[in-house]
Each structure stands twice: as structure tokens, then as C-alpha cells.
């Protein structure tokens, strides 16, 4: 075939002479796919490409994100609400995590069903298993970074589980947290792991995984009846690309229609009903069935057993047979794990939905997060202006009294630590000057908010507050009476 000898071809030839790129491209694209191109082989490439998307969006998110307990939440809110394209980029990264886990499950299932982990591919399989674990570590460390209620309490529960492991648990928990509790140090550690350590480890292992795969060659179909092969390019590459296009479109759609969750800033003392991401729900649900010392079964022993089984699988399953129907034990085991995990996820969701108390609490939390997300972005005061702002806020308070801890735990999330109000709730300073807000009124409001026409997100009742707690809160509130003329925005 005669082609015009364009500048592109010339450049390519020049480059090839110095790099050998032609051979490399040829090797990559002409890889024979035994049995022909198939849709069932698309998951590995999709994982690789989604990882690239996660890396790209992640790198760009750090352009605005600040890994400090003081600024993490406001910087994520800034990305989500104020930066053009920020909601989409954060949405891609946020839902991309779920996408990674889904694709991992699909990839692992396909490899398992096709018996592609057998002889010659043992290392390939094991590296894949490590990649699975690393992906879960990514999800776990990434969860804390937005520093909202969900992030804080999710991490609290997760790291407490790590602390329950006998002998090493306590030490391990301290090392993970960087101290006895979740603080800004924890955030720094998780950030470091999430953006430097894990990507480095995962990147290296992905290269190894792809190398081992190319070295062993595609395993091909399990029935060995089709004696033919396609090259990777164009058929398989097209299938891979098309499937990834679907994944990408799905991610963009979800990120646009359901913006990535961001609730109000973490308030360590408040009560928050923490629920893990869906891929940790099977473990969460199992925790309910194993109380007390038996907790170790779902948190350590069962996952440990399953992953050991996974890693050792190619060593005790040494038969050449790859047809799933002629490997009844393996296939049944896989089906049991998948159906079992799926059922546990369903049960966890179902029980939360049908328990009126949990359901109400979860819906209330979601409502607060929605309101926070809708409120306009407010930049944080930093430096001298912050001192000015806080001193003028403090100047409006009559009493030197610290807010009671009951107020901090129950009310401060929406009304601010000093009753100054925020995106979620109105200020309470000078509230007694308003109609129907005498001391007795306030006490009755805490008994029955709807009776005073107070609607969502104000809770319908405060079951956790005793009569004494309510008196403490109200007595402190009525001393907030003196609200200065706004001296802030002079």
C-alpha cells in the first residue's frame, strides 16, 4: 500500500530509530487473544483505565484540597460548590471508587469462572489479589479526607475494628491514627497513604500484573473448542474501549445527577449514625451476628480465611480442567461468597430501612447533608481576619460560660458551637427577644419542636436529652441574649 510519506511518518521513523517504538507498539497491539476477542475480557482494561481516571482526578483535586483538620472540609466544600467543574471531578473520583470495586469483582469473577488462575498464572493471580486489597485500602484512606461527619465516624468505626485485634490491635490502631484518637495527624497520615504510598504501590503492581499477563498470554476460553485467535488490536481493543466508554458515561451521569456526598464538617462529640460504603457492608452486617469476643470472626478471621483461600487457590486447585461446570466445588464456593455478600449488603440496607429509629436518623442526616450541599459556599476566615471575626462573635456573647457539652453534642452541628448559626440552622443569639421564645417556650420547644411549627431539619424530638440537659442548654441560651449589631462585614 502506498501512503504519502507525511511528516508524521517521518517523525515516527525518526523516533523508532532511536526508541524501537514500532516494535513495542506492534507487540502491544498484535498480542494474540486465544479463542478470539470477547466481551468477557473487558474488565481488566477497564480497571486499568479507571485507575488512570482516579489518578488524574485525584492529582487535580489536590490543587485545592488541604490535608488539615482545620481546612480539609472547607477546601472540599470549595471544590464541590465553587470551582467550575469541581463537582464533576470530585464526583468522578468519588463514584470511581465504587466503580473500581465493582469492576474488580467482575474481573475476579471472570478470571475465576474461566479458571484463568491455574498453572503458569499463579503469580498473576496473587498480584491481582494484592491489588484487590490495595484498592480497599484506597477506599478506606480516601473516606476520611473530606472530614465531614460521615468521614470522621466511618473512620472511627473502621479503625476501632483494627484496634480490637488481640495483642497487636491497640498498637496497630495508634500507629494508623498517629495517636490515641482521630486528629489532624490522622488526616495527614491518611492523605500521605492515599496520594503517595498507595498509588506508588498500586502503580508498580499494576505494571507487574500486566507484564505477567502478557508473559503468560491470554488464557482463552475454558472449553478449548474454538481453535482460533484474534489480535488484541483492533477487535479486543475496540471492545475494551467501548465498554470503558459505557463506564465513563455512567460515572459522568451519576456524578452529575447525584453530586458526591458532602455533609457538614465533622463534629467529634456529636452523635452520628455511621454506615460504611456498600463494599464494606457485608462485614458490617456480620458484626451484628457476632457479639462480644466473637467479633473477631467477621472482622479478622473470616476475611483473613477468604483472602488466604484466594491467594492459595492456584496451588491446591491444580487440575487442568477449566470448565466451570466441571469444577463444581470451586464454582459453588464462588457462588456462595458472591450470593452471601450480596445478601448481607441487602440485609444491611433492609434492616436500616425497616428500623424506624435508624431510618429516621439516617434520613435526617441525609437531609442535613443535602441542605449543607445546597447552601452557598462561604470562604473560611484565615489569619488576622479570622481573629477579628471570632472576637466580634465572642463580643456578642454575654456570658463567659462555655457552651454545655449537651449543646455541643446535640445542637452545635446546625446552630454553631456558640449558637452563631451556620448553613444548616439559624443563629440562636438573642433568641429570647423573638416572639414565643421565653425560657419556658424554649424548654417546650426542646420537648416538642413541631408544636412550635419548627420543621425539618429540626428534629421532631430529642430522646437523648434529659430534662436536666434541656434546662442546662436553655439557661446557657438565654444568656446569649445580647446580640451586637453586626460588626463583621463593616
Amino acid at each position: 500500500m502506498i501512503r504519502p510519506f507525511s511528516i508524521v511518518n517521518k517523525t515516527y521513523a525518526w523516533l523508532d530509530e532511536r526508541t524501537g517504538i514500532k516494535r513495542l507498539v506492534r507487540r502491544t497491539l498484535d498480542e494474540p487473544i486465544r479463542g478470539g476477542a470477547r466481551w468477557s475480557y473487558v474488565f481488566g482494561s477497564a480497571l486499568l483505565l479507571l485507575f488512570v481516571i482516579q489518578a488524574l482526578t485525584g492529582i487535580f483535586l489536590t490543587m485545592y484540597y488541604v490535608p488539615s483538620a482545620d481546612h480539609a472540609h472547607v477546601s472540599v466544600a470549595y471544590i464541590q460548590k465553587a470551582v467550575p467543574g469541581g463537582a464533576l471531578i470530585r464526583g468522578l473520583h468519588y463514584y470511581g471508587a465504587s466503580g473500581m470495586v465493582l469492576l474488580l469483582i467482575a474481573h475476579l469473577t471472570q478470571t475465576f469462572v474461566f479458571g484463568a488462575y491455574k498453572k503458569k498464572r499463579e503469580l498473576l493471580w496473587i498480584v491481582g489479589g494484592v491489588l484487590f486489597l490495595l484498592t480497599l485500602c484506597f477506599a478506606f484512606t480516601g473516606q476520611l479526607l473530606p472530614w465531614d461527619q460521615e468521614a470522621y465516624f466511618g473512620t472511627k468505626v473502621g479503625t476501632s475494628i483494627a484496634g480490637e485485634i488481640p495483642v497487636v490491635g491497640h498498637l496497630q490502631q495508634r500507629i494508623i491514627l498517629g495517636g490515641p484518637d482521630i486528629t489532624s495527624s490522622t488526616l495527614s497520615r491518611f492523605f500521605m497513604a492515599h496520594v503517595f504510598l498507595l498509588p506508588l504501590a498500586l502503580g508498580f503492581l499494576v505494571l507487574l500484573h500486566v507484564y505477567l499477563f502478557r508473559h503468560a498470554g491470554a488464557a482463552g476460553p475454558f472449553d478449548n473448542r474454538e481453535h482460533r485467535a484474534d489480535r488484541f488490536y483492533p477487535k479486543q481493543l475496540f471492545k475494551d474501549s467501548f465498554f470503558f466508554l459505557l463506564v465513563f458515561v455512567a460515572l459522568v451521569t451519576v456524578a452529575t445527577l447525584m453530586p458526591a456526598a458532602l455533609g457538614p464538617q465533622a463534629k467529634p462529640g456529636s452523635d452520628f449514625l455511621a454506615r460504611p460504603a456498600w463494599y464494606f457492608l457485608p462485614l458490617f452486617q456480620l458484626l451484628k451476628y457476632f457479639p462480644g469476643r466473637l467479633t473477631l470472626i467477621p472482622t479478622l478471621l473470616l476475611p483473613g480465611f477468604l483472602f488466604t483461600l484466594l491467594f492459595l487457590l492456584p496451588f491446591f486447585d491444580r487440575r487442568h480442567e477449566r470448565h466451570p461446570l466441571r469444577r463444581p466445588v470451586a464454582t459453588t464456593a464462588l457462588a456462595l461468597v458472591l450470593i452471601g455478600s450480596g445478601s448481607l449488603v441487602f440485609l444491611a440496607k433492609y434492616q436500616d430501612k425497616t428500623n424506624p429509629e435508624y431510618n429516621a436518623k439516617l434520613q435526617h442526616q441525609e437531609e442535613l447533608a443535602r441542605i449543607f450541599l445546597k447552601a452557598q459556599f462561604r470562604p473560611q476566615e484565615v489569619g488576622a481576619s479570622a481573629v477579628r471575626a471570632s472576637s466580634s462573635a465572642a463580643g456578642s456573647l454575654n456570658s463567659n460560660a462555655e457552651p454545655p457539652k449537651e449543646f455541643l453534642a446535640t445542637c452545635a452541628l446546625c446552630h454553631g458551637d456558640n449558637g452563631e448559626g451556620n448553613d444548616l440552622g439559624p443563629p440562636l443569639q438573642g433568641v429570647t427577644a423573638k416572639p414565643n421564645r421565653t425560657r419556658d417556650d424554649l424548654l417546650r420547644i426542646l420537648d416538642n419542636p413541631p408544636a412550635y411549627g419548627l420543621k425539618d431539619p429540626m428534629p421532631v424530638s430529642f430522646p437523648d436529652l434529659s430534662a436536666d440537659d434541656k434546662r442546662l442548654i436553655v439557661d446557657w441560651l438565654i444568656n446569649l441574649n445580647k446580640q451586637d449589631s453586626p460588626s463583621l462585614g463593616e
Binding site: M1, L56, F60, M63, G85, K120, G217, D230, P379, V382
Partner: protein
């Protein structure tokens, strides 16, 4: 273009044992004179290749535009002028002697509203008040007082007491800031100006 009608598949012996794919792998594609049985239709190849390329370009395009906007837009929208800031009571400015005052300038910068210390020179001459930025219009060093008026130590630019350029690489006189006197307090709108150009203009 000549279309080669060749099979899209290739026969290989048997997979009963664990076959080695090396032979297949090293086989040359048809356009480099390889074995015809490995040929893949050229037309199909270029059509699927085109589709694959389009998908890649589409995804890269969406990502590239979004990431570009994400990176650049906030940099362009940040505003430069401050609110009116108190500098000093008028009575504290001596006649004829340049007075240096520092002021706290707050600016929106991304997620925060930041404050930084900046300094200005206030000159009162025959009841005529001038407020100079202390940022050198050359490359942004800080202008200090000297015997003849003002100077910038970085590259030896010099100005007289009225801020007019005397010597050195600075392209213009010292930059004046918009000011006013309200209830006997000097107030100023702090701004940054373009450096290195002869005409004073607001940096944007």
C-alpha cells in the same frame, strides 16, 4: 484503497496441552509481508481503529476540558481590589515626612478569606495627601525611604519624595493608591499593579 478480503481468524493447532503462543505472537502482520493466514482485514482494522480512536479522543476531551477549567477558572476570577482599609488618623501623619504604615489586606483566595500585612507610604505636603504602594513597579521588591526620597534596594531604582522616578530600571513612578479621609481617618483601597510596564494599570 484496495481492500483485502482475508479471513479475520487464524487456525492454530490445538490447545489441549498448554501451547506456547510465542510463534503466534511473533508472526508478522500482512502489511509487512508476513504470513497471509494471520491477516486481518485492512478495512475492518481501520474502521474499528477509527472508532477506538474516537472513543479515546472523546473521553480525553471531556476530561481535558473539565480539568483545564477546574485549574484555570478560579485563577482568573479572583479579584484584586480590597475594601476600604483604615491606614491611620490624619493627625498622625507629619507634614512633609514620608510615613510608613502597615495594613492588613484581606483577599479571597480559593477556600479562604486570607489576611496579609502590606505596607504603604503616606506623604502629606501642604495638606495634599498621597498614598504610595510600597511595591516596586519594576519587579515587586519593597520600596524604602532614602536620602533623596525613596529607593528600591533590589535593583537600585530611585524616586524623589513625590514618587517621580529619578534613576534605575523601574519603568515608572511609584504607584499611588486610591484614598479618602473619613472622619479624620485616612483610608485606602489596596491594589496590585502590573509590573515592568511604563503605564500604571491594575493587575488582573
Amino acid at each position: 484503497m484496495k481492500i483485502n478480503l482475508v479471513r479475520t481468524t487464524v487456525k492454530i493447532p490445538s490447545y489441549q496441552s498448554d501451547p506456547d503462543l510465542d510463534e503466534l505472537r511473533d508472526a508478522q502482520p500482512p502489511d509487512s509481508g508476513g504470513r497471509a493466514e494471520l491477516a486481518v482485514s485492512d478495512e475492518r482494522r481501520s474502521f474499528l481503529g477509527l472508532l477506538t480512536g474516537l472513543i479515546g479522543a472523546g473521553i480525553s476531551g471531556v476530561l481535558g476540558i473539565t480539568l483545564g477549567r477546574f485549574s484555570i477558572a478560579p485563577a482568573l476570577s479572583a479579584s484584586n481590589a480590597s475594601e476600604w482599609i483604615d491606614v491611620a488618623p490624619l493627625a498622625e501623619i507629619p507634614e512633609g515626612k514620608p510615613t510608613n504604615r502597615s495594613l492588613v489586606v484581606s483577599q479571597n483566595a480559593g477556600w479562604g478569606h486570607f489576611s496579609s500585612d502590606q505596607s504603604v507610604w503616606v506623604v502629606k505636603k501642604a495638606e495634599q495627601l498621597t498614598v504610595f504602594s510600597s511595591v516596586c513597579p519594576h519587579l515587586g521588591c519593597t520600596i524604602t525611604e532614602n536620602a533623596g526620597g525613596f529607593g528600591c534596594v533590589c535593583h537600585n531604582s530611585a524616586w524623589n519624595g513625590a514618587g517621580e522616578k529619578l534613576s534605575g530600571p523601574a519603568p515608572r513612578g511609584m504607584d499611588t493608591l486610591e484614598h479618602k479621609v473619613e472622619s479624620n481617618v485616612v483610608r485606602v483601597r489596596y491594589q496590585n499593579f502590573k509590573q515592568g510596564v511604563a503605564e500604571k494599570s491594575v493587575a488582573s
